[in-house]
């Protein structure tokens, strides 16, 4: 029994350490990118791409922020952008479908990379599949959802 406890204590602490040494620097780097305004510029740069999904370009900003930072923070930006720009309901739904499949991509990837998984593979698969699904959904989504919403 003592052996089992020791095995679990050593193993679990080593795993936490292994992940912490990767995740902490990533989170610090993200904070620097935020404060330097790089994140906003990245989001601004990529947001016109959402036209592929038939979305307004203003809808790209909350999408890119959610992909990078995460779902709960992203949801906050979605609500704000929707209020300021009166986005169509269709855009909100498509943003959310993309985000449930791919959000906080750097944090999640860092954690799995600490376990030895290829970060390039994980990151590209996740973004590519989420984009493909959103494209499919954009073709299927009904036009009555074009109406603007007030959240």
């Amino acid at each position: 029994m003592l052996e089992v406890l020791k095995e679990a204590a050593v193993g679990s602490l080593l795993s936490v350490k292994q992940i912490a040494v990767i995740v902490i620097p990533i989170m610090i780097a993200m904070e620097f990118l935020k404060d330097l305004g790089v994140l906003d510029r990245i989001a601004g740069f990529f947001s016109p791409l959402v036209r592929v999904f038939g979305m307004r370009k203003e809808s790209g900003f909350p999408l890119v922020i959610g992909i990078i930072i995460g779902l709960s923070y992203g949801a906050g930006v979605i609500f704000r952008t929707a209020r300021e720009n009166r986005l169509p309901r269709r855009d909100l739904y498509l943003i959310t479908y993309f985000l449930v499949a791919a959000h906080a991509v750097f944090e999640d990837t860092a954690i799995f990379a600490a376990l030895g998984v290829s970060s390039a593979l994980l990151l590209t698969t996740r973004l590519l599949v989420a984009a493909m699904f959103t494209f499919l959904a954009s073709k299927l989504m009904r036009h009555e959802l074009e109406k603007e919403v007030n959240l």
């Binding site: 193993g11 990533i26 904070e31 959310t96 290829s118």
Partner: protein, 145 residues
């Protein structure tokens, strides 16, 4: 985003360190108990029984039966719980990679589905899409890797 763009200060470092430590703490809080429980089960026949029960299902993704534990914890609790199970089981890198891809599409369903519902999506649709993407990618990467 806190301060005006282009202004980096000691505060930036402090906030980054804080959020890094917060993630580490959330991870440790869940990973450590999961690791203890799984390690305990490894020394009893229970894990063996679970593994045999789920072997046919997990075989679709080229995973051993006990990997079901990882998927269940990841979806009903969160990614950190899934990672606790991954590190305490003895899985190969290919198996961990398939699990990582499946989990990245589909995890923390209770919390994240609630968020999607708040924006106006149907919970059933969101869960169906996420589980669907996880299953398809799991099957695909078992072949590709």
């Amino acid at each position: 985003m806190g301060s005006p763009p282009g202004s980096v200060s000691l505060d930036t470092l402090k906030r980054g360190l804080q959020s890094g430590l917060e993630v580490t703490w959330q991870l440790a809080r869940i990973l450590i108990p999961v690791y203890f429980i799984v390690t305990f089960f490894k020394h009893t026949p229970i894990l063996e029984i679970v593994a045999r029960l789920f072997a046919p299902l997990m075989g679709i993704f080229g995973l051993p039966g006990e990997a079901a534990l990882v998927l269940v914890l990841g979806n009903f609790v969160n990614l950190y719980a899934a990672i606790g199970a991954i590190v305490s089981l003895s899985l190969s890198l290919k198996e961990i990679t398939v699990l990582a891809i499946m989990l990245s599409f589909c995890h923390s369903l209770p919390v994240e589905t609630a968020l999607a519902k708040k924006i106006g999506l149907s919970a059933v649709n969101v869960i169906a899409v996420r589980v669907g993407l996880a299953v398809l990618s799991g099957i695909a990467f078992n072949f590709l890797l």
